[in-house]
């Protein structure tokens, strides 16, 4: 029942918020998001570390087709549920200084988005997953296109068409899988993801299914060469929407890889996995190199995010337990870091009305608090040991390295390049002589610090004691690995 609550509560709250006018909207949205976080936190604390699906809910949605509204949390979902619950209140809090026109709609859309994301991460039925996967797109599209920058309409439109295009292929794949499940006179086919795992698909079918799924998820993440929508969208969207996109939404793609591609089409992964890893590694290196050349902070973070997610994809496709564990924990870590980074960029923008690095500089003189927080976010992003980024990247690289030494080596550049572009950004914006725009830079207010504090705690917590998170995901990862093992072996 808890999962149903996780999905429905934001919907109800958002609908109520639509009716509120004025400043109270922010507080209301924040309270709603906190309540949702309490549910997610309760799920995390109460989660039994085994491979089962917990807090489930199951209801025959379209009875005659055997499509069920079936949701539950297992080890793969739990960290993402936690992440979604955690980030949304922080994102809402980060907007307290800003004012948006039609603010009730703005916050309602954020909560609708949260509901859809919860749905994606907890769906146990293929069609329900698709349903939420698409539903998440509509609020974020409106958020970006209504409150974004000057070129927002064209950019977000590209984003929308691009992602829908990808997910239509996934729909095709899901419908195909659905018809492969056994049906009898009495019971219809089944769309339960668990039933998809049991199918014995021919290698030919697995190959095209692999691509149908991969394109959908690769666009969402995005993996090279499907990334062209991403930098513009991140830059043009209002920062809260960018945080949702980078912090949570791109994880839908990685999650899809683990949930669908690996266990459902293991032979497809066998055949095409290497191509996918090579694309991901190209993305890692390519994204990093472009990030080094960027002058705009938001754009730089966007490319860094593109680079990081490439590593997650590569780790998943390495088909190793460490790679998958790394991807799961790195999703959590990256979500935390990237939201922090975008918030820094937003704070700088709100005070100087620019994110151009050459117009910034010398901020650190008047801002001890911002400097410290920025530095910590940055260290997490560049994967310094004892921060959250280190755990994830280390596991991921270990996975990729086990799969193929050379690819592992190439992917390893991410750490070096990451340090280069991140430190360059820090240096250019924070150090040096103050420019006319940064002379009278005001340090963080209380609410702004309040956003950073939980992030900092998590960065170190995950960095120092990752076991608390790894042990939760491990049984489910092992059980997914089992599917890869058995199907691959039985057909060999």
């Amino acid at each position: 029942m808890l999962t149903l609550l996780l999905i429905l509560f934001p919907v109800v709250a958002a609908t109520l918020i639509l009716m509120i006018r004025g400043e109270r909207v922010k507080q209301a949205a924040f309270v709603a998001a906190l309540v949702e976080f309490a549910f997610a936190g309760y799920a995390f604390v109460g989660f039994k570390p085994d491979a089962s699906s917990q807090f489930g809910f199951d209801y025959a949605w379209i009875r005659s087709l055997g499509i069920r509204f079936s949701a539950g949390i297992d080890g793969i979902s739990i960290l993402l549920v936690l992440l979604t619950g955690l980030l949304v209140p922080l994102i809402v809090l980060s907007t307290f200084k800003r004012s948006y026109k039609q603010s009730s709609l703005f916050y309602a859309l954020m909560l609708y988005m949260q509901a859809a994301l919860m749905g994606v991460f907890t769906a146990r039925d293929g069609f329900l997953f698709y349903f939420f996967f698409e539903a998440a797109l509509i609020p974020i599209y409106f958020l970006a296109a209504m409150w974004g920058g000057s070129n927002r309409v064209a950019v977000t439109f590209k984003f929308f068409v691009y992602t829908i295009f990808g997910s239509l292929f996934m729909l095709l794949a899901l419908v195909y899988l659905y018809y492969q499940t056994p049906a009898t006179e009495l019971s219809a086919h089944s769309a339960a993801i668990a039933d998809f795992y049991k199918l014995n698909l021919t290698p030919g079918a697995q190959n095209w299914l692999f691509w149908a799924f991969f394109i959908a998820f690769a666009i969402k993440m995005p993996v090279f060469p499907f990334h062209t929508w991403q930098p513009d969208t991140y830059v043009e969207s209002p920062t809260p929407a960018t945080m949702l996109l980078a912090g949570i939404m791109l994880k839908m793609g990685v999650y899809g890889l683990i949930r669908f591609i690996l266990p459902v089409v293991p032979l497809g992964v066998e055949t095409w996995g290497k191509t996918a890893i090579i694309l991901s590694v190209i993305g890692i290196v390519y994204g990093s190199i472009i990030a080094i050349r960027q002058r705009d902070m938001k754009r730089l973070i966007a490319y860094s995010s593109f680079s990081h997610v490439g590593l997650m994809a590569a780790g998943v496709f390495s088909q190793t337990e460490t790679g998958m564990q790394g991807a799961l924990i790195q999703m959590l870590a990256h979500g935390i870091n990237v939201v922090g980074m975008f918030f820094v960029a937003d704070i700088i923008f709100s005070r100087t009305s620019t994110n151009q690095l050459d117009q910034l500089g010398g901020i650190t003189k008047s801002t001890p608090k911002l400097t410290v927080f920025f530095m910590i976010m940055l260290l997490g992003s560049v994967a310094l040991p004892l921060t959250n980024g280190f755990i994830g990247e280390f596991l991921l690289l270990h996975g990729v390295f086990t799969y193929n030494h050379y690819l592992g080596l190439a992917a390893g550049f991410t750490i070096i390049f990451g340090a280069v572009y991140m430190l360059r950004m820090f240096q250019k914006s924070m150090f040096g002589m103050p420019s006319s725009r940064t002379e009278s830079f005001v340090d963080l207010s209380r609410t702004e610090s309040l956003v950073f504090i939980p992030l900092v705690i998590l960065i170190f917590w995950i960095g120092v004691y990752p076991q608390a998170f790894l042990k939760v995901t491990e049984p489910s990862v092992v059980s997914i690995m089992k599917y890869i093992g058995t199907t691959a072996v039985s057909l060999k």
């Binding site: 009875r63 539903a135 509509i138 829908i164 292929f169 195909y176």
Partner: protein, 467 residues
């Protein structure tokens, strides 16, 4: 059967009501007539009857189709007030013609004999020719009517020829008789295949499938918007119901012969409809191409004829009709408000995409209605259109026609592009200066359509087990 008699009689009654001084009675009277017919339609629920010496059959499926068409007509009539108020309009005649055309449409849904199909198509078409040209002062309306009539007559001729050949091959006009002959599968006369093809051409023309679609853009664009809405929903539903009946009862035996043809036509229709729609500046013309593309999706279900097809076509027709009518309903208001009535080569100015600029800010309800319709036509989840596409895709997956689906998926992505142009114009562009006044009744109808679209999008099971 009762609906046919009732509609014929009530149509005549409407003509007489036209003699009354007050035009105001006509619209409520027509709505009442349609509502009564809709209720009467369900009297035979769960029973199967043969009428007129086995010429017509009513069963649950035919009743559902009839209900969709009557419902569509009801909505169209409810939205027709503003057009009928113009001075040149002849509301009594128009409403009567709509009722008569529904008689033809109902025959097309329940025919048991090819003659009945022919009569139904003719009744429907002739009424539509007249309605297309009903904007007498408008050159484009006249042109559209003439085009539609000439090409329509030609298509009907081909269809009739096909029926004659089928009779020659099978010695029967009844669909069951032809079905029994075709079920032999061996030693079938060549005439059967030729006849089937010609019959299909005639019907595919009516549903505007490529390459028989050339009349559609001009006719849809030229006809008064309210009749375009009628045409693109009722005629299409009737046409697909007839095609389904024909193919599933008479020609299932020769499925191997016609499925490739239908699949290729479906793919062609999808490509032509969607790609051309992208280049339109006029919303109305875009809707014409969109209606072609939706014919393509419906044809997928026919090409993959199976147990799912019936349901898929019913659901798709309903989802498509509701969304289309509410979209045209909004267009009517917008075009009227922004009417400068300068006719350019691309169509009437006030029907361009630009007319929708900023609509959502001034008229949130109209904007929302239109957005939901567009999302439904684009097949986005949470709307009925998504499940329509889902059912269609399911039928094809069941038959393993993956290549056709890949075409359909690519074209759906193209579709999103042009449907979203409207949403972008309404929500993200500035333009509207004044609020458009909307009559309460008009508002309820649009709201009802939106609720149906979203309701079916959330719980598509509502429609199941009905037939």
């Amino acid at each position: 059967m009762l609906p046919i008699i009732l509609l014929s009689v009530l149509g005549v009654v409407l003509l007489f009501l036209g003699f009354l001084k007050s035009r105001a009675v006509l619209l409520p009277a027509t709505l009442l007539f349609l509502a009564v017919t809709l209720a009467v339609n369900f009297l035979d629920w769960n029973k199967t009857y043969l009428y007129f010496n086995d010429m017509l059959r009513t069963n649950n499926l035919s009743m559902v189709f009839t209900a969709i068409m009557l419902g569509s007509a009801f909505m169209v009539v409810a939205l027709s007030g503003s057009f009928m108020d113009t001075d040149e309009a002849q509301p009594a005649e128009y409403y009567a013609l709509m009722l008569f055309s529904l008689v033809g449409a109902i025959m097309m849904v329940g025919f048991e004999n090819l003659i009945m199909l022919f009569v139904g198509v003719e009744i429907l078409s002739v009424a539509m020719y007249v309605l297309t040209g009903s904007d007498k002062r408008n050159l484009r309306s006249n042109e559209a009517a003439l085009k539609y009539f000439l090409m329509g007559a030609f298509a009907t001729g081909i269809m009739l020829f096909g029926m004659a050949l089928l009779y020659g091959a099978t010695g029967s006009f009844t669909i069951a008789g032809i079905g029994a002959y075709a079920a032999n599968q061996q030693g079938l006369s060549l005439l059967l295949y030729v006849g089937l093809l010609m019959l299909l051409i005639g019907l595919l023309f009516k549903v505007s499938a490529a390459p028989f679609h050339f009349w559609t853009p001009d006719v849809y664009d030229g006809a008064p918007t309210i009749f375009t809405a009628f045409m693109s929903t009722v005629v299409k539903t009737a046409g697909f119901a007839a095609l389904f009946r024909l193919l599933s009862v008479s020609f299932e035996g020769v499925y191997g012969f016609w499925w490739t043809i239908m699949a290729i036509i479906a793919a062609l229709t999808l490509v032509v409809g969607n790609l051309t729609a992208v280049y339109q500046n006029s919303f109305k013309r875009m809707m014409a191409y969109s209606s072609i593309s939706h014919a393509g999706y419906l044809l997928i279900g026919l090409a993959a004829l199976g147990v799912q097809t019936k349901q898929a076509i019913v659901f798709y027709s309903l989802a498509y009709s509701v969304a289309t009518i509410s979209a045209f309903g909004v267009l009517l208001l917008v075009a009227q408000q922004r009417s400068t009535q300068t006719i350019t080569r691309e169509g009437v100015n006030s029907e361009n995409f630009d007319s929708f600029n900023g609509l959502a800010r001034k008229n949130p309800l109209l904007g929302f209605t239109m957005a939901v319709s567009m999302l439904s036509l684009a097949g986005i989840p949470l709307t009925a259109g998504f499940w329509g596409k889902f059912y269609m895709f399911s039928t094809a997956v069941e038959r393993g026609q993956i290549w056709l689906l890949v075409v359909a998926v690519l074209m759906s992505a193209v579709g999103i592009y042009y449907y979203f142009r409207v949403i972008i114009a309404m929500y993200f562009r500035d333009g509207a200066t004044e609020t458009i006044p909307v009559a309460p009744f008009y508002q309820y109808v649009l709201l009802g359509a939106t609720i149906i679209t979203i309701g079916l999008g959330i719980a598509p099971g509502l429609l199941q087990g009905l037939f």
